[in-house]
Symmetry: C2
């Protein structure tokens, strides 16, 4: 049969990262390309014990259909967490559980964007979100990133020039892939511009809780007096990505539409995982756990930066990172980035070419992304030495 596909999926491609990740499962490949949290950060014993208790005490609740909005005690707990820790659950907001933060991106685009509507995003930005937006035929417009966040002049120009802008997509903490954190001043200005031009903000914060140095900066959602920010949170980096549990804080009216879209997408998120997340936050030393995994990431990031300094600089420059999982490396002039990445792979090291994160992947790009959480310390040492050569 000659299949008739919807326009929206005609040009949709599997992500470039995904294609590279296929290689990383080959034996002997050093995995600098993935975005996996460090496996040693999983609190296995606690999760196993919590799960056993759930099956002993309330198995039907863990196996039966549940509600689309998510497990109420977990929602209440996250509302308190968002309000008390981040000041980011405000009057008029609602909070629902999603199948990872990825689902927040998809459902927000589905809820807010007609085909052809415009989304402004950081350039570079997270390819999974960009593809989610593309899957509704939204038009993406990239705003260059500076070391302290979006180029505000470019943002303002885009807001003035583009018609039907629906939202600005921002990853303010330890941005994927650039590792950049948006300053408080820029967060305020992005909020002011969004309000002035009557567009919303989608704030994606999967890494906020794994800051391992420097000071926390309040999320844009904490400034949201006007009900214009949709916030995406996730357990993927602080507990387990395989569970697929995230959350969305949004004005109740927007949340109501997102809920209907979620209902037709997967009815509800895996309920056992929601029960586990709830008990993990409520019945274990959650803050102690966060301290422990921050120590893991600090150690790995520090080692990775030291190794880059030793083996790759000055032919490579990078922004030092204070959290997250990634280091964005820029090659100096005269070095061809695609060649470099191909050579790295020939030498059994997988890194992601930077253009994978651009709105237009065919644009030239001189950077690549290194993930420091997945490899072991030994792999970091060996891999950086090889990359240097």
């Amino acid at each position: 049969m000659n299949y008739h596909f919807a326009d929206r999926v005609l040009t949709l491609q599997p992500s470039a990262i995904r294609e590279i990740l296929k290689f990383t499962s080959f034996p002997g490949i050093i995995p600098f390309a993935a975005g996996n949290p460090a496996p040693e950060a999983f609190p296995v014993a606690q999760i196993a014990e919590i799960t056993a208790n759930i099956f002993r005490e309330r198995p039907v609740e863990a196996l039966q259909y549940s509600v689309t909005e998510g497990y109420m005690p977990l929602r209440d707990r996250l509302k308190r967490h968002m309000a008390e820790k981040h000041g980011a659950f405000r009057r008029g907001d609602e909070l629902i559980i999603t199948s990872g933060a990825q689902q927040v991106m998809e459902l927000t685009a589905k809820t807010l964007c007609n085909e052809g509507d415009v989304i402004l995003c950081e350039a570079p930005s997270f390819i999974g979100s960009l593809n989610a937006f593309r899957s509704f035929n939204a038009r993406l417009c990239g705003i260059p990133l500076q070391p302290d966040g979006m180029d505000l002049e470019a943002l303002k120009t885009a807001l003035q020039r583009e018609k039907n802008v629906r939202f600005i997509y921002v990853i303010p903490n330890f941005q994927n892939p650039a590792g950049i954190t948006t300053s408080l001043e820029k967060r305020r200005e992005i909020y002011r511009l969004a309000k002035r031009f009557d567009v919303m903000i989608l704030e994606d914060n999967p890494y906020g809780d794994i800051r391992f140095s420097g000071e926390d900066i309040p999320p844009i959602k904490s400034l949201d007096e006007d009900g214009i920010v949709v916030y995406a949170g996730s357990f993927s980096k602080i507990l387990s990505p395989g569970m697929r549990v995230g959350w969305c804080v949004a004005p109740a009216e927007v949340c109501a539409k997102i809920i209907v879209c979620k209902q037709v997408s997967d009815v509800h998120s895996n309920i056992l995982a929601q029960l586990i997340a709830d008990e993990f936050m409520g019945k274990t030393d959650f803050q102690g756990h966060l301290t422990r995994i921050r120590d893991i990431y600090r150690r790995k990031a520090t080692l990775a930066m030291k190794l880059i300094d030793r083996h790759l600089c000055p032919r490579v420059s990078y922004n030092p990172v204070e959290g997250g999982l990634f280091i964005w490396c820029k090659l100096s002039e005269g070095i061809n980035m695609p060649d470099f990445c191909r050579k790295a792979l020939e030498n059994r090291i997988a890194v992601v070419p930077g253009n994978a994160f651009l709105v237009d992947e065919s644009e030239p790009c001189d950077s690549f992304r290194i993930n420091f959480s997945t490899p072991t310390e030994k792999q970091l040492i060996v891999g950086m030495e090889v990359l240097g050569k």
Copy 2:
């Protein structure tokens, strides 16, 4: 803020069932409205043991990111199951894991339908699927159900009349809500018509494995020599709906697009649940489990039909059921269905008004749906007696 929503979600409403289900959580309400599998059918001890073993033997695999297509051993196992048991995994097909069968409906519509394209569906049909189709602004066209499946004349007329029909949506076994099973002859004819008019078929089979009387009928997918059928299967009714694990068998080319859409929707389905489903099928007496749950449903269905005969007939007529979870009851002339359902609820019995399952919910309808799997036997006895009054 005056929110700007996408056209596709403007008229999308939470399902009527969902609104009724809110009442069912009130104490003392007898739950004839839900679509929950019988809680006594959950193999709790086995799932608990399997899960404990997984956390002991391969915790990182159960907690780390996984691949969008799903856990390979489970996919291979289901391919064999579909091929050997149903003859419904053919050359050129691919099989992927989804977040429940609901996700197959949503992703198939997203992949195949532009806004305004037409989907032909049984009338009445499953509201969750209809809403998934509506969420992409597909236009639904209902084909009346007869006791042996769709009215083929009406189907043919619709195929001739409607432009841009993308697929025919069918629940051939123990249809939700009508309880009807499509005959083999009609399955063949639906397939022939689809082929002739160059449209696809979406076959939704969540209940096929809980046939408790009569003979199995091969799925439409088993006739699919032309690669025009997308098949949706589910663990929800045979293992646990809270796990949200289903699967999709479709021509590889279609599957590839569905995978890209799934990737941007939730990256992958909860991986622990996939590991559990795989071990449950492979390491326990899966056939014995199916026999046990079929016994549960046979007993409950037989009791429910006996009670309807005693208390509701002849003012109510129904099609006897051979599987599934639902009995579709038709009120005789002169009885107002919405009044009946409202009165039932006042008497603490929740049933679903039939028009909730129509393409146009405002059309008149004289039927209502009874679920016999959720209530206990005692609730069935008490509830039917009250309904009779």
